[in-house]
Symmetry: C2
Subunit: 222 residues, 2 copies
């Protein structure tokens, strides 16, 4: 009954969770790429995880998580994101630095630890990148955010998440005075380079956003 997975198994479970889209199936090569390992290694692990009833898997047919597997994945994601929140909010890390550390912290086994950490942090619902944090039952807020690219002109919206965690992106956003929670509105869209001009609430000067930037900036229309 008690889930008892190794670090390697947990990393596989989480990776499948992140790759899998509703209805669809994950492939061996996709998973190998995600985990920076070889397809043969993935196949070995798939057999083990199938045995442990974490995966639905038929050779050559692809795979996805069972209900058990998704539960396990949500537990790992919960830990990962709570630790990221802790690192940024309490230890003053930048959000470009926390992923690697959380990649290790997410494997600490104590359930009591993570629930007490959750309480200490006052039950945050989103991590520093705007991704939702599963609660103690695995429930999390559904994100209906869209790429800034898809936000219509003159629609007030709030920056809700970033799909890239590089320090280069953080650097650019800082320079443009944009962070998660910023209110903004697209004022113009330029067909030539698909760049965007927008106005940020309480800031006079208009801001220019490249296609590349708009692609990774997600917003929630208000």
């Amino acid at each position: 009954m008690g889930s008892n997975f190794s670090v390697a198994e947990e990393n596989y479970i989480k990776a499948v969770y992140h790759l899998q889209k509703p209805g669809a199936i994950v492939t061996t090569n996709e998973l190998a790429a995600e985990l920076q390992t070889k397809a043969a290694s993935v196949t070995d692990m798939l057999k083990k995880l199938k045995q442990k009833k974490v995966l639905n898997y038929e050779p050559y047919r692809g795979f996805n998580l069972t209900t058990e597997g998704r539960k396990a994945a949500l537990g790992i994601v919960r830990k990962h994101r709570l630790w990221e929140y802790f690192l940024v909010e309490k230890l003053q890390f930048g959000w470009d630095e926390v992923h690697e550390v959380a990649e290790e912290l997410e494997h600490i086994t104590s359930k009591k630890l993570i629930d007490k950490l959750d309480a200490f942090l006052d039950f945050p619902r989103f991590d520093p990148h705007g991704d939702p944090i599963p609660d103690v039952n695995g429930k999390m807020q559904v994100q209906h955010d869209i790429s800034l690219n898809d936000l219509p002109v003159n629609t007030p919206a709030e920056v809700s998440s970033v799909k890239d965690q590089s320090s280069e992106l953080l650097d650019l956003l800082k320079h443009k005075n944009i962070s998660i929670g910023s209110r903004l509105q697209v004022t113009r869209k330029f067909g030539f380079d698909q760049s965007i001009e927008l106005r940020i609430k309480d800031i006079a000067a208009p801001v220019n956003i490249s296609l590349q930037l708009a692609q990774v900036l997600y917003v929630k229309p208000l």
Copy 2:
């Protein structure tokens, strides 16, 4: 140059550090007992750690840490005790619950994490059991505390550490209103069972301490 040890190696290094007394040597069986493993496994690891220049080791002759090894050990002890402090002071764990969790957390590799945690905790110098926390350079306060058994009658002293981390001990200490930092003074010693009567500062009623309790309660004469 950067130390790069596996979890197993780190556990061995720390165990040798804890077993080793100045000048003396540690034996294979002692280490096997400490780590709850077999002597054969210890020998295997000793050879590896000697190769990595962590240990001075000659077959059949015992071993102890090199300067490099002690430096590594202090780094692990620092992490272990800082995490214990965090768990008790920030997450409201009891000091009987933290050791196991810290046993995992001490292996998280980020140096930045531990230094930021140190700052967040305001650079504590002692962990919840009264053991000194090495600073960023491995320096720590020397403890000149003695067993309550060895405290002379009528000598004011302060409880400084406990040599046992069981919940049974914590339970007993709570019941007797004793915690780390308590001021006390031995009023009588009884030869029959080597029990001790003492008075705690600001508490009227005298308290009786068994031999077993006095052995694990350490105090610093004021």
